[in-house]
């Protein structure tokens, strides 16, 4: 059982990371990662929707016929997105304004319906919830990493505007790392998001390649060969 959770963790955070490997949900990923705060906000929102939809889909998976599973998933996801949107509107108004259209766009984040279809619809709800959490976490991590990269290069800060997400006390979180006379505007602009994303993916592939190289040095175990023909 624990190994199942381990696999889920590894998949969500690294092996099958929705953003870095599956390249899902790029639209919000590239659009809102101008700052860490925005990235974190959208990451958490996506994670909540993922957990909710995964659990629901898992619970109803035995009642839903194959033909209508996609519409049902869409209804479930849309419901959760609307709920999250309402909650954000009510409790984190600043962030809600900053993220704008990208909260409703979570509906179309393929990572969510992808998990519903690939995992939640085949597994019991505790695992599905955990899978949603880990996938969401993986997505959020990439979002935050990209946000940090872009915010640092473009503004020289980190956690600018954290109060929008976490309340007034979080104003203190803002860190001015470098003071640029001329910040690299490209980092904040959409092309910067693409380039940054490219570097993140390249970095991951590089690490994987190195690990694979190490793994290949271990000796191989000969597999059993099947006899096509019987010898009698």
């Amino acid at each position: 059982m624990s190994s199942e959770y381990q696999t889920l963790t590894k998949n969500g955070l690294w092996e099958n990371n929705p953003a870095l490997v599956q390249l899902l949900g790029l639209c919000p990923l590239l659009a809102v990662t101008g700052t860490v705060t925005n990235a974190l906000g959208l990451g958490i929102a996506t994670m909540l929707v993922l957990i909710g939809s995964n659990v629901t889909v898992s619970l109803v998976r035995n009642f839903v016929p194959k033909e209508i599973r996609i519409p049902v998933f869409v209804i479930v996801i849309a419901t959760f997105v609307t709920l999250v949107e309402l909650l954000m509107n009510a409790f984190t108004y600043g962030l809600y304004m900053a993220l704008g259209i990208f909260i409703p766009l979570i509906v179309t984040n393929c990572a969510i319906i992808g998990r519903a279809e690939a995992y939640a619809s085949k597994n019991p709800w505790p695992q599905a919830a955990f899978d949603g959490f880990m996938m969401g976490l993986g997505f959020a991590c990439v979002l935050v990493a990209l946000g940090a990269m872009r915010e640092l290069l473009g503004q020289g800060t980190l956690f600018d505007g954290a109060e929008m997400l976490l309340g007034e006390w979080a104003r203190e979180l803002r860190i001015q790392i470098v003071q640029f006379d001329y910040p690299l505007l490209l980092a904040i602009l959409p092309p910067g998001a693409f380039i940054g994303m490219g570097f993140l993916i390249a970095g991951k592939n590089w690490l994987d390649g190195r690990r694979l190289q190490k793994a290949q040095q271990s000796p191989v175990v000969k597999a059993q060969r099947a006899r096509v023909t019987t010898v009698n």
Partner: protein, 218 residues
């Protein structure tokens, strides 16, 4: 076949009903808080321009909707009026510069009843980061250069950017953004100066969702 069709329809329908109900419940629960948030947000900006000492009325509801797209940039823009014991003390007009570098720039212009600018703030814009976004007070004090200014005539030559011979600086590398802002503020200020009394005497009529005015009409 008919049976499958019926079954599918019913299941899907059930999900739809459940989902809609859930959303409606959530909306009912959060509606008040959302409205309070919106109101609070607007008040925060209003209060930086019109401090609490300048009014004792409810700014949020003492509000008129103006239909002057030629001057204010959008079909409808609210004007919030501050009074102390019923005497007009200040005025905040929402206005929009339609000709920013990357589309509309939404602003709030506060004036004294005498027509002197108390302050200008940018509410929303999409100008180039690092260049045009110096119109935000958080990034550059440029927007404060309107404070205390007044227009002498409708085509006051000083109310232009320096490059055009006016008194407002432009930023290095960007002329269009400050020019758009200056022009919009000038139009609004002259409008307010010339119609000040009418603005204060009009009945309040803008209860509702202030968010709709943020809708970008570009």
């Amino acid at each position: 076949m008919l049976k499958t069709m019926q079954k599918n329809g019913v299941i899907l329908g059930t999900f739809a009903v459940l989902a809609t109900t859930l959303i409606i419940i959530a909306q009912l629960l959060t509606a008040d808080r959302i409205e309070a948030q919106q109101r609070q947000e607007l008040m925060r900006t209003l209060n930086t321009l019109i401090p609490a000492t300048l009014h004792d009325n409810d700014l949020y509801s003492d509000c008129v909707l103006l239909q002057r797209p030629d001057i204010l940039g959008l079909a409808e823009q609210p004007v919030y009026r501050a009074r102390i014991e019923g005497v007009p003390s200040a005025l905040a007009i929402r206005t929009t510069a339609p000709d920013g570098y990357s589309g509309q720039i939404h602003m709030l212009v506060a004036l004294t009843p005498q027509g002197v600018v108390k302050g200008v703030r940018v509410l929303q814009h999409r100008e180039t980061p690092g260049l045009g976004d110096k119109i935000e007070v958080e990034r550059h004090p440029w927007i404060l250069s309107f404070d205390g200014q007044r227009m002498r005539s409708e085509n006051d030559a000083r109310w232009t950017v320096r490059r055009d011979g006016g008194m407002f600086d432009q930023f290095t590398g960007a002329t269009i953004t400050p020019r758009a802002v200056v022009n919009a503020v000038a139009r609004t200020t002259w409008f307010a100066q010339s119609e000040m009394d009418a603005l204060f005497s009009a009945p309040s009529n803008c209860l509702g969702d202030p968010e709709q005015w943020f809708e970008d009409q570009s």
